[in-house]
Symmetry: C2
């Protein structure tokens, strides 16, 4: 018999950060968010419980969040300045450092699955624009028409923001970042991370944020797995996801201390708000955020489970 | 009078890595490479000597290399599968962590200047595709027609590779990476890094490599400035440029030790070949490479200068 303790395999996901819902006021969609986050976490955990890879578990969870109109990813993505849904996603295998990402895709139904196809079936890491959609189609991934991604709420958000642009008052910075992400530790002790987003409302000029940038919004290695959500430009400049891994490996910080330092002592003082979920190779979790809230859910082999859709005090 | 010693302000650039030229055989273009690299280094150094910023010095050097047909950046870029020049560039200011990058641009004459415009005149870090070209044009940057970027040598390389794809023998991996990059330390003690490339010959699906990815092919902070050249996918997976900075800051390694470790002990064993130029805040340089050679040139305030266009033994 082996004396190696069983791995506390874990699936942890986020559904975005920001002013999710003010404390003490009615939140009509609370049950929907709760149910969807919990179901996505359970589905990814079931992959792990069945002996599946952390990579497969992350993809499974994120496909469910992409298919939900509640989050800014896949169906329900925000609209770009041109009135299009232009989506980004990335997936990374911490055991091999293999990674795949797509930016600016418009026709693949599940961008996270396109990222997995790039990881497993191409020689590349990052594919962009119509070429990325073409690759996904050639790989046989399911496509979807523009109507699939479109929700009336997101369309009204675009119209409101564009109307405000014409007024003297500058539009307020976004109060909510609906990006989704997941990190997982499988029974083999391997970590993986993935992130999927519709990006920034009203974005122009082919703007790409941190989600599909390996090292910024998404990173996994033998030390930790990280997925971010927030003001993407700051996450890129600070190489947030890789910096958390580096502080753990090179300085010996815990996942909680490393993630806290990067989010609260580096990115926030520079003016960047957001949060991350991070998981180490022993199943320890961290979900620091400098925004008012962070939607998350997790399921662990040790029987722990949790879902947060409520207002949270800034740490 | 100040007792602070003067900064050993320095401009260090590279013109790509690979099998640049076999030792002991004639190299007809040697004088052209030597002259162009040295002139670009001197031009950037002149900006520093005049009190200009490291950011401006890096841009100045890279514009000259982009305008030369000798390198795979700007004029002289390799062709994509579709027969187009699709270029990437990034620029980062180590003093502020401000960064700008473009990917897949086709009409802006100097992609590195487009990256600077993104850094200084947009709220974003990464713009892609036609939107990035549109942004550059709206900022008043000079455009150029397809003929400007096209060289007959690059076109023949595309035809040869595409012909080989139809044969039973798989095409050989690229023996040379002609990406250009520069790092600089200015009189104020501020570092900057920039990289510009035409990417991978015969690339498809909107493939983007490491050059425009902040943290992968390009990074600068208060500790060091790094620009890479090589097999971009490996540079992304290993977050090469940020990892060098992290090893210096968190482990106390010298710039030489940190750059050597990442290139020779991490990326090369994983199968990725290439090199970096790296510069610390005291003007110490490193240019490790796992390829057969690396083109580089530098000029320092202490009077040192050097240019390398020769075959070099793998370190």
């Amino acid at each position: 018999m082996s004396s190696v303790p069983p791995v506390n395999f874990t699936l942890l996901l986020h559904g975005g950060s920001g002013r999710l819902h003010p404390a003490g006021t009615p939140f009509p969609q609370e049950a929907d968010y709760q149910r969807t986050l919990a179901a996505a976490a359970q589905a990814g955990f079931a992959v792990l419980a069945g002996g599946g890879s952390s990579l497969a578990a992350v993809e499974t969870s994120l496909r469910l969040l992409e298919d939900s109109p509640l989050f800014n990813a896949g169906r329900g993505s925000v609209f770009s300045h041109a009135g299009l849904n232009e989506m980004d996603a990335a997936l990374m295998d911490g055991a091999t450092l293999q990674a795949g990402a797509v930016a600016g895709v418009r026709t693949v139904r599940n961008p996270i699955s396109a990222a997995r196809a790039v990881l497993e079936r191409s020689a590349h890491v990052l594919l962009t624009g119509p070429g990325a959609d073409q690759f996904a189609a050639e790989m046989g991934l399911e496509t979807a028409p523009p109507e699939w991604f479109r929700t009336e709420e997101r369309w009204q958000q675009l119209l409101a923001l564009q109307a405000a642009e014409g007024s003297p008052a500058a539009p307020a910075p976004p109060a909510k970042y609906g990006t989704v992400g997941a990190v997982a530790l499988d029974q083999a002790g391997h970590l993986a991370a993935g992130t999927s987003t519709g990006g920034m409302l009203n974005k122009r000029y082919g703007r790409v944020g941190d989600s599909p940038i390996i090292g910024a919004g998404t990173y996994a290695n033998h030390v930790c797995a990280v997925s971010g959500t927030g003001h993407g430009e700051f996450f890129i400049r600070h190489a947030v996801a890789h910096d958390i891994a580096a502080l753990m490996e090179y300085r010996g910080l815990s996942v909680a201390a490393a993630a806290h330092r990067v989010i609260h002592e580096k990115v926030a003082p520079a003016g960047g708000r957001g949060g991350v979920i991070a998981l180490d190779a022993r199943g320890h979790m961290a979900m620091p955020h400098s925004t008012e809230g962070l939607f998350w859910a997790y399921v662990s082999a040790d029987g722990q489970t949790g879902t947060n859709v409520c207002h949270m005090i800034v740490e």
